[in-house]
């Protein structure tokens, strides 16, 4: 359960202040799949970073599963990133020197539950259909394959929430389709809460709910009507 109340994020660039988020109220239930849309600079990534505990709000409150994230220290935030949320990046953010398998193992290096690392990483790669590419380095994989490694890495610790910030932003339509289908399947079949940022109305239409942002605010929040 994600609940945001009056979340504001202000960046100070010298004298200029940028309100990247400006009083966002939002709640997302367990098992939902939500699309976040909005023009460039509207605050989508800022919102995702806060949801993923990569960043903290300037003001307002964020509670995750009833826990007030704003009051947590660095180590506790690292714990949440490690255990509760999986983050998928537009630019994949894989470590170039490591193989796909080692990249997927990365979250298993940190925090508790380090046993059977290799096996769990292999299973995660199998889940995204990359059983035959485990020993490849990122540079030896296509964009779509790299993003699947990114998803496997996000899934390896079985998080309740998957956050994907423009996961298909750098991909062609066929790869995009694979990635989006995968996210939807994870939501439908495994009940993982998914929040995905996208610029594509087609992708948004396949989720349960679309949130539109503008200038750091949520301007629209509508369930998707599938019977239309």
């Amino acid at each position: 359960m994600i609940v945001l109340e009056g979340v504001t994020k202000v960046y100070s660039l010298g004298a200029v202040q940028v309100r990247a988020l400006d009083g966002v109220d939002l709640s997302i239930n367990r098992g939902e799949i939500v699309a976040v849309m909005g023009v460039s600079g509207s605050g989508k990534s800022t919102l995702m970073n806060i949801l993923g505990c990569l960043d903290v709000p300037t003001s307002g409150s964020y509670s995750l599963d009833g826990e007030d994230v704003g009051s947590l220290d660095d180590d506790k935030l690292a714990y949440i990133r490690n255990r509760k949320v999986g983050f998928v990046f537009q630019t994949y953010n894989l470590l170039p020197r490591l193989t796909a398998l080692a990249n997927v193992e990365l979250p298993l290096l940190y925090g508790r539950g380090r046993r059977q690392r290799r096996q769990r990483a292999q299973e995660a790669l199998e889940r995204v259909g990359l059983a035959d590419r485990m020993r490849h380095k990122p540079a030896e994989l296509s964009g779509g394959q790299q993003q699947r490694v990114g998803i496997a890495r996000a899934l390896v610790k079985d998080p309740a929430i998957l956050l994907a910030d423009e996961p298909t932003g750098n991909l062609d339509s066929r790869s995009s389709e694979e990635i989006i289908s995968m996210l939807i399947r994870l939501n439908r079949d495994e009940g993982i809460t998914v929040v995905v940022v996208t610029h594509s109305p087609e992708i948004a239409a396949r989720t349960d709910r679309v949130i539109s942002m503008l200038d750091g605010r949520i301007v629209d929040d509508t369930p998707v009507d599938r019977d239309r």
Partner: protein, 414 residues
């Protein structure tokens, strides 16, 4: 992360920059090798000094005229002529001091020595029969000064090996006549070589009967006409009796000299001399190590430099790791372990290089100096400890910088 993961990850990322890592390691290798070889050279010098003193026997007391001692080491010979040959005989009297086993008085002076067309100027030492035993000397040829020679003030001489070589070359000096300060002396023996020692060239001297030295060669005489001596070496039966003997000799001399207040003699203990000398040479060895330590320090700065570069280059990696749940401590440990692998790796190779170097130097003559090295485990432990400490010290700042990175800022870093 467990230790294996940490070591594995450190080695992997260092291996990714092989050249850079090995150059950094080289800095530490040079530093550690320098520390080890210089310190083992120092220890070698220390050992040969101590060995020479010990070869004299550690159960010796040295009685000198005048209160000229300074911190246990005597600088030159006592100037006051207050000790006499009779004092020496009194000390050697077994009824007076039973723990004394032998007494060797000596009177030193300088002489111009001539043999044929060869001439030299050296120390002429007046001694008694006991000198040979007390000082642990060996004859290479001929005989030594006898009690008769001393009683009769015979003009006989025993040559140090170097003096013998200077005057006679390879010829046999025994039976030849040399001139010391224009007096004719018959050579009766030659001493074995002792090598250079802390008390100067022991091989470059001439021994004559102490009475001859006093009456025929020395310039100063006491008013009473007693034979004066510069030094009385007293051999004590047992090392445990040293202090007791020292006290008894002092009492005896005070009595003989009718002293009421200040002593007019000084007694030095061979053991004290050894200890003082060891302290001094220890300082010297540490000093050598410290000089070499500077290069180790420079190596440490190299590590810090390369780690700072690495932290900057890998900002994105840090961001990714943090996004995947790495805590500050995880990142700190990761970068610290790289610095420590560099420094300990360098330390290990440096130890091997240092051992090899000191083996190479051992027994060799470089720039006219004969080097002996003594290598010991404590130097290795010290060098490894210092290099690990350097890794910790110089690694901590870059690692803290890495650990403090904000995940988002680090991820955005280009």
């Amino acid at each position: 992360m467990n230790l294996l993961d940490i070591a594995n990850s450190a080695l992997t990322s260092l291996w990714a920059n092989k050249l850079r890592s090995s150059l950094t390691v080289l800095g530490i290798v040079i530093g550690v090798a320098a520390v080890i070889s210089l310190m083992s050279i120092g220890r070698g010098a220390q050992a040969s000094i101590t060995e020479r003193i010990q070869s004299l026997g550690t159960n010796l007391l040295f009685v000198q005229p005048g209160a000229t001692s300074f911190g246990g080491i005597f600088f030159g010979q006592g100037s006051a002529s207050t000790l006499t040959l009779d004092d020496a005989y009194a000390i050697s009297d077994p009824t007076a001091i039973p723990s004394v086993s032998a007494v060797a008085p000596e009177l030193s002076t300088f002489g111009d020595i001539v043999f044929g067309r060869e001439n030299t100027s050296t120390q002429v030492l007046g001694v008694t029969t006991e000198y040979l035993d007390v000082r642990n000397l060996e004859l290479s040829t001929g005989g030594f000064i006898s009690q008769g020679h001393v009683t009769n003030r015979s003009e006989v001489a025993v040559l140090g090996s170097f003096t013998s070589e200077t005057l006679f070359g390879l010829r046999d000096p025994v039976g030849q006549t040399i001139r010391i300060n224009d007096r004719r002396f018959t050579v009766i023996g030659v001493l074995d070589s002792e090598g250079g020692g802390p008390f100067g060239q022991l091989d470059d001297q001439i021994l004559v009967p102490i009475t001859t030295a006093y009456y025929r060669l020395a310039s100063e005489r006491t008013t009473q006409g007693d034979v004066t001596v510069n030094l009385i070496s007293v051999q004590v039966e047992d090392e445990d009796l040293m202090d007791q003997a020292e006290g008894e000799i002092a009492t005896l001399l005070r009595l003989r000299h009718r002293l009421t207040s200040e002593d007019d003699f000084t007694i030095n203990n061979q053991q004290d001399t050894l200890e003082t000398l060891e302290e001094t040479t220890d300082t010297f060895v540490m000093f050598l190590g410290a000089i070499a330590g500077i290069s180790l320090l420079v190596g440490g700065i190299g590590i810090m430099n390369i780690m700072l570069v690495s932290v900057t280059e890998r900002t994105r990696e840090i961001g990714i790791r943090k996004a995947m749940g790495a805590t500050r401590r995880d990142i700190l440990v990761q970068f610290m372990s790289e610095a420590i692998v560099l420094s300990i790796g360098g330390g290990g190779i440096g130890v091997l290089a240092g051992i090899a170097l000191s083996r190479l130097i051992d027994g060799r003559t470089l720039l006219g100096q004969n080097f002996e090295t003594v290598f010991s485990g404590d130097i290795v432990v010290l060098a490894l400890f210092v290099s690990a400490a350097i890794g910790l010290f110089f690694g901590i700042y870059p690692a803290v910088r890495a650990a403090r990175q904000h995940p988002i800022d680090a991820l955005r870093y280009e």
